[in-house]
């Protein structure tokens, strides 16, 4: 048994290490000021796919991302970890996409890569935190979706059983494939890079990267075993340009606010038994504990 699994990944600014210049005046993220990383839950998604490949070695794991040329970094990162191949959707016309335009573009890319059995995306990206792209892609592809996936429990020729992580417990869902999953951060963390794969694929490049690196186009890509990462632009996809990028994005950022949590009330307590007892009673009556 073997499967074809498509994993959607995204390169994001590392919002966990935010400095003062993290936001621009217009309320959008200043991507230049933050280091670019592999979106964490997309790594959970990749691991979920690679686990299937561990059990069914003929399985093909393909990653796809939309972004500028440098987003090829996370395709390589995925290949170091076990992905077989990667596709970069890149075009100036994609710039400024909100979740709707993004999912439109990704769905077009996914359609071109059909047939696949499972499409896995991270639940949400740490730059926008919308958790919309995965479900929207599923809608556009008219596929069933299982969000908050924590583990693929079973996978057979046509059916998949997935454990979902919910606020108050877990749920097992079985569905016919093809299907879209969004991976939750409680899923297994991604495996480390494999040394041999890294040495093999460190020179994998998209055509855009090769153009940036090489002045002499005639020699381009002649170096031994440079794996070529496919690059798709608007022209490669069956899409309506009006639905792309800023033009295809109804989301408008109205206002951005810096919220700093301030302490409002404070109570000073002594170490006395009475004070501690009072605190316990307050916590219990306000249902913070108990």
């Amino acid at each position: 048994m073997s499967f074809r699994i498509l994993v959607l990944v995204k390169q994001v600014p590392d919002t966990r290490n935010v400095g003062e210049d993290a936001m621009k005046a217009d309320g959008t993220v200043n991507r230049g000021a933050l280091p670019a990383i592999f979106n964490p839950e997309d790594m959970n998604a990749l691991e979920m796919a690679l686990k299937v490949k561990d059990y069914h070695p003929d399985t093909e794991v393909i990653v796809m991302t939309m972004g500028p040329t440098r987003a090829a970094d996370i395709i390589r990162e995925s290949m170091y970890r076990g992905a077989d191949d990667g596709y970069l959707l890149t075009d100036r016309k994609f710039a400024g996409s909100d979740t709707l335009a993004t999912s439109y573009t990704l769905a077009a890319g996914a359609r071109k890569l059909q047939p696949f059995d499972v499409l896995i995306a991270g639940r949400q990206a740490i730059d926008g935190d919308t958790a919309q792209v995965g479900p929207q892609v599923a809608e556009k592809l008219k596929l069933p979706q299982i969000t908050y996936a924590e583990n693929i429990e079973k996978i057979s020729k046509t059916k998949i059983t997935v454990k979902r992580r919910l606020d108050r417990g877990v749920e097992e869902v079985a569905v016919k494939m093809p299907v879209v999953l969004t991976a939750h951060s409680s899923a297994d963390p991604c495996r480390p890079r494999n040394a041999k794969r890294l040495l093999k694929f460190k020179n994998a490049r998209t055509i855009g990267e090769l153009q940036n690196e090489t002045e002499d186009y005639t020699n381009m890509g002649n170096a031994k075993s440079v794996h070529k990462i496919s690059e798709w632009t608007v022209d490669d996809l069956d899409i309506n340009p009006e639905n792309l990028g800023l033009q295809g994005s109804p989301t408008k950022v109205k206002k951005i606010e810096n919220v700093v949590f301030k302490q409002k009330d404070s109570v000073k307590l002594s170490e006395s038994d009475e004070d501690i007892e009072k605190l316990m009673k307050d916590l219990i009556t306000s249902h913070v504990i108990g």
């Binding site: 040394a195 041999k196 040495l199 031994k224």
Partner: protein, 568 residues
């Protein structure tokens, strides 16, 4: 999210030493693998990039997995279940991660599925892993056995065993010591006889204090020549765990490195294959194996010291007393800077020695395929001579420093350091073995004193003092020159007595004097390459100078007559 390679800039510094170019070019033999293997480099820069990228993976696994598991592994340790070792859960996870990342067999040639890395990056991987968990560093470091098989076994055995390291992540053991043969391996008794009917060698007997004794493959030193009593009757054998004829009688309960199982083993009609030639077991193969194991302990010691220093530094920043962080007090910052200097010193010596080993070993392998040119032969001999005395020097200095640094690191923690609440007590316990196993410090002196006696160390000092240094560092070079004169006087004084026992008595002092000067030169060279090391060079040379004055004075005052006062 810790990476023990990228968070330590000194590693990259040593990886980029000027001699690396030569090492890589020798090791890659004009980059002939490039056309055949996906993971082979095309030139020196490409190879260096490969080292950094792979060490980056090891640094990540060390920081995120091995270091995270270290406390639990220390608490649980390994145990015996049904005559076999069961690793702590964390140890199993560590091995699994490294295996799945195809990291085992780092230094083996590509045809045996290795990455063909030189010794320098391999030793660096051991340092990184030891910083995370010194006990686990043993299991990692026993890949040295693969090197020994590569060096001395025939092609058939190489092809059978070596690929398993990278592909299956197998671990290894070197089964040398026995209840009555510790430092004196010549008296090994475990018996090997050739069973004509079965057409194989059989092992019978007991081994003791065997690190990772239940490994997948073991190199077993055994007496193959009946009636012999010394080292010339010993041969080296390969035992495969799959035969299931060896049982683990117990796992020792140790002070430290608890994750590394130290086993007592019983071999009962255990089939084994002869490695190389009969009778060469101890005198050739085990000597080579011990040398790489000593380098391994050197790396382990640097890793331990690095971990201890970092713990102490963090604590001294955080801990406030008398209204300020304790790092502000001279008594504390002096300790920390001394520790930092020692770490720089031991690391510099470790990688210098590794480079020597790299060069001569690579020439050795090349000579299997073609006759070496005269200059190449001379170079091989030169570096082998250097490696022979630098290896015990490295083991001696780094293991003693690891203990000193760990001791001071615990001291910086005060009472808290004595509690199980901080990692430093584990690091302190782990450090203690480094100057004991693979030859005690006292035995390293016995090996290193040869470098004093035959003038190798003096030649090295003379060569080093020819190096051109920046004008602002010249005063240090002069200081080292004076230290050398004093060292020569000390050597003469002891030698002129023409008394072996007296020579042995002062041997450690002489070796330490030589070591202080040599390490001083190495740090000076580092500082000449990067001013980052100016402080370490100056502080180390000043400390070394005062220690040498002390040794010199003691040697002058304790003559043969005074020797009697010490005898028991």
């Amino acid at each position: 999210m810790a990476n023990f390679f990228t968070d330590n800039k000194h590693l990259k510094f040593h990886l980029s030493h000027p001699l690396m170019k030569k090492i890589v070019e020798l090791k890659e033999r004009n980059f002939e693998d490039y056309e055949t293997y996906d993971d082979a480099p095309k030139d020196f820069e490409d190879a260096l990039d490969n080292f950094e990228k792979v060490l980056d993976i090891i640094g990540e696994i060390a920081g995120d997995t091995i270091a995270e598991n270290a406390e639990d592994v220390d608490a649980t340790g390994a145990k015996v279940v049904d005559n076999h070792v069961e690793y702590a859960e964390g140890t199993k996870e560590n091995i699994e991660k490294l295996k799945n990342a195809n990291l085992f067999g780092l230094s083996l040639p590509r045809k045996y599925l290795g990455l063909n890395f030189p010794i320098v990056p391999y030793v660096m991987s051991a340092e990184i892993i030891s910083r995370a968990d010194a006990g686990f560093a043993n299991i990692w470091g026993l890949q040295d056995c693969a090197e020994t098989i590569h060096e001395f076994a025939d092609e058939e055995m190489r092809q059978e065993v070596l690929p398993r390291f990278n592909r299956d992540g197998i671990t290894a053991a070197m089964d040398l010591t026995e209840p009555d043969s510790g430092s004196d391996l010549q008296s090994v008794q475990l018996k090997a006889h050739y069973d004509e009917q079965k057409g194989t060698w059989m092992l019978n007997g007991v081994k003791r204090f065997i690190t990772n004794g239940d490994a997948d493959v073991a190199l077993v030193l055994a007496r193959s020549e009946e009636g012999t009593k010394d080292g010339r009757g010993l041969s080296l054998f390969l035992y495969d765990k799959k035969a299931d004829k060896m049982s683990v009688r117990r796992v020792e309960n140790k002070l430290g490195i608890k994750g590394s199982p130290t086993c007592e083993l019983v071999f009962k009609d255990a089939p084994a294959e002869l490695i190389g030639n009969r009778k060469m077991g101890l005198i050739k193969y085990v000597m080579a194996l011990m040398n790489s194991a000593r380098l391994g302990v050197g790396a382990q010691s640097v890793g331990i010291a690095e971990a201890a220093y970092r713990e102490a530094l963090t604590y001294a920043h955080d801990r406030e007393q008398f209204g300020s962080a304790i790092i502000k007090f001279p008594a504390v910052y002096e300790m920390l800077t001394d520790m930092e200097t020692k770490v720089a010193a031991m690391r510099s010596l470790l990688y210098e020695t590794s480079r020597y080993v790299d060069i001569y070993k690579t020439y050795q392998f090349i000579s299997e395929d073609r006759k070496l040119e005269k200059e190449e032969r001379q170079e091989m001999k030169k570096y082998q001579r250097l490696a022979d005395v630098f290896t015990p020097l490295t083991k001696l200095f780094s293991s003693e420093y690891a203990n000193q640094v760990a001791y001071d690191a615990l001291q910086v923690h005060g009472g808290s350091g004595y509690m199980k609440d901080y990692p430093v007590e584990r690091i302190f316990r782990d450090a203690r073995i480094t100057n004991i196993y693979e030859g005690t410090s006292q035995l390293q002196v016995v090996a290193a004193i040869r470098g004093v006696g035959n003038g190798t160390f003096l030649n090295v000092m003379n060569d080093f003092s020819e190096n051109k240094v920046k004008p602002e560092l010249e005063y240090l070079q002069k200081m080292l020159g004076k230290m050398k004169d004093q060292y020569e006087k000390a050597v003469r004084k002891v030698r002129d007595m023409e008394d072996d026992e007296y020579w042995d008595f002062h041997a450690r002092r002489l070796v330490e004097m030589a070591g202080n000067i040599i390490i001083g030169h190495l740090l000076l060279a580092d500082s000449n390459r990067d001013q980052e090391y100016d402080k370490a060079a100056s502080l180390f040379i000043n400390k070394g100078r005062s220690q040498n004055i002390q040794h010199y004075s003691y040697i002058n005052n304790i003559g043969i007559r005074e020797l009697g006062d010490f005898k028991k």
